[in-house]
């Protein structure tokens, strides 16, 4: 073997070693949740390190549905999240297009202020909104939390969509106009289908940010009947005795759909992000 071949062989081997090490680091905490969720009740505080525990059982999962309000939390979360995601995507798809293609008074100021909202600390909108909701008697309402989530998600969504529309050449629309489409038709028949990857990514981020949001929900939804999944999940974890089994099972059920969705869409991530939020 020549010297350069040997060097290349060593480099490739080292690269695989690094990748595998980081894969283990990435998977390990997730595997911990799985382990905890499968442990039988008498072995919850076990110190063993194996992933599928001895006497693995699904009893934590059944307890979750039978003994806790998990289904109610899931319903609340689904309702809130889908409303927020739909509003976000709809408004961002239209406004982003307007910002990308047309000039109008106040456009630059509007774009800049949307970027500036990204610098708001969480309390910046949460505190005034909380006091407003208290004064309006809207604390403990779906509407209150949806408004909060839209406020945080919408500016980012608009930016992302605008950035993506910018990469679609406007010659396509001109061709459409020549063929007799109206402005609206060129938008929704030509541009919108091309923007599908960006729409998907925008929806995903909107969904993920409200599906597992805790600190805002903890202030606004104090009535247990309105609890969302994150608040319910956190309630299993208390200082005195954490219900690790229930926590593990609930975490798996909350995480798996999100992770599957995220990984399935991850090939869009590069284009969606580098073109949208980041470049723009």
């Amino acid at each position: 073997m020549s010297k350069s071949m040997l060097k290349k062989y060593l480099r490739v081997t080292a690269s695989y070693a690094v990748l595998i090490l980081f894969c283990i680091i990435s998977i390990y905490p997730v595997s911990q949740v799985l382990t905890v969720s499968l442990r039988p009740a008498d072995r919850l505080l076990s110190t063993s390190l194996e992933i599928i525990p001895e006497n693995a059982t699904l009893s934590n999962y059944t307890n979750l549905f039978v003994k806790t309000d998990f289904l109610l939390w899931m319903w609340n979360s689904l309702l809130i999240t889908s409303c927020v995601t739909l509003t976000g995507v709809l408004l961002a798809a239209t406004a982003g297009y307007g910002f990308s293609r047309y000039k109008f008074i106040g456009k630059k100021a509007a774009m800049q202020s949307m970027l500036v909202t990204q610098m708001f600390p969480a309390t910046m909108l949460l505190l005034p909104m909380y006091i407003m909701l208290v004064n309006l008697g809207l604390i403990n309402s779906y509407l209150g939390i949806m408004v909060m989530y839209s406020a945080t998600a919408l500016p980012f969504c608009v930016w992302q969509m605008k950035g993506f529309y910018d990469t679609i050449p406007s010659s396509l629309e001109e061709a459409g106009r020549i063929d007799g489409c109206s402005q609206f038709q060129t938008f929704y028949k030509i541009v919108l289908p091309l923007a599908a990857p960006a729409l998907v990514i925008t929806a995903l981020f909107s969904f993920m940010s409200s599906w597992t949001e805790y600190v805002v929900a903890a202030q606004i939804l104090q009535d247990t009947a309105l609890w969302t999944l994150p608040i319910g999940l956190k309630s299993f974890e208390s200082n005195m005795s954490t219900e690790w089994g229930l926590y593990g099972a609930a975490s798996m059920l909350v995480t798996v759909p999100v992770v599957v969705l995220f990984l399935a869409l991850s090939r869009y991530l590069v284009s969606g992000l580098t073109l949208g939020s980041v470049k723009g």
Partner: protein, 298 residues
Amino acid sequence: MSPSFRQRLFVFFLVTPALIILLGVVVYPFVYNVIISLSNMNLRHIRDWEIVGFRNYVKVFTEPSQPDFYVIFIKTVVWTVVNLFFHVVLGVFLALVLNQKEIRGKGIFRTILVLPWAVPQLIVALTWRGMFNYEYGSINQLLTKAGLPAVEWLRGPTEAFIAAIITNVWLGFPFMMVIALGALQSIPHDLYEAAEIDGASWHHKLRAITIPLIKPVMVPAITLGTIWTFNNLNIIWLVSNAGEPSDNTHILVSFVYKAAFNFYRYGYGAALSMIIFFILLAFSWVFMRRTKATEAVY
């Protein structure tokens, strides 16, 4: 209808709904926050508050609270810098490793490495908190197996802070990796081939080709990452369980969250929110201007 009027009407319908909603849910609360920050509003004065001027702002800088503003500010800077450093270094490093043409199974590696980003932050934080448990947590078990002493992760102020940083480094590197990978893939191959013909070494190629070419994409990502990390309430709040031990594990956002919602100091909290916001605004303005990153935005 004239074509130009129809176009204006079309733009109006495209943009107005989003702007009205933003006006209602972002601009209005923001203005209200400015008013609260100038008032004496707290739990006892929630309706009968009055404007007291800049008293709350003065209080933020001068009140001898435990811990005080300056200590928390320094902690926030440490938190942000350490996190960003590891996010960028690990992210770019892994992207470079993954982007080599000899590596097989890129898709699988990439999918697994993106996992920490996909897991919800709440679950990341609570799970790592469990893993840092002194007796049962797997971190200490791995340490003792390796012959090292167990660490009281959640009971010492420094240890708890380090625990939160480890958690946040774990969840943050995939974002930078994905961005860097996207940037690397857009670098034309012939640049490297030309450099190889000229006999350039790998660090030469890294310095002369890779870094300058991924910089335009990385700089906005780093700016955004800095803002998100500086303002990341979730991880520090949940890993340290609201600042334990005894409020020693705060960054500015978690401190203001506690002031507002655990101590009901609304005026003070609003003022501190404004100060955090201005710190970030100043940072982004200077950083983006220095690196000229957003030139092509408008």
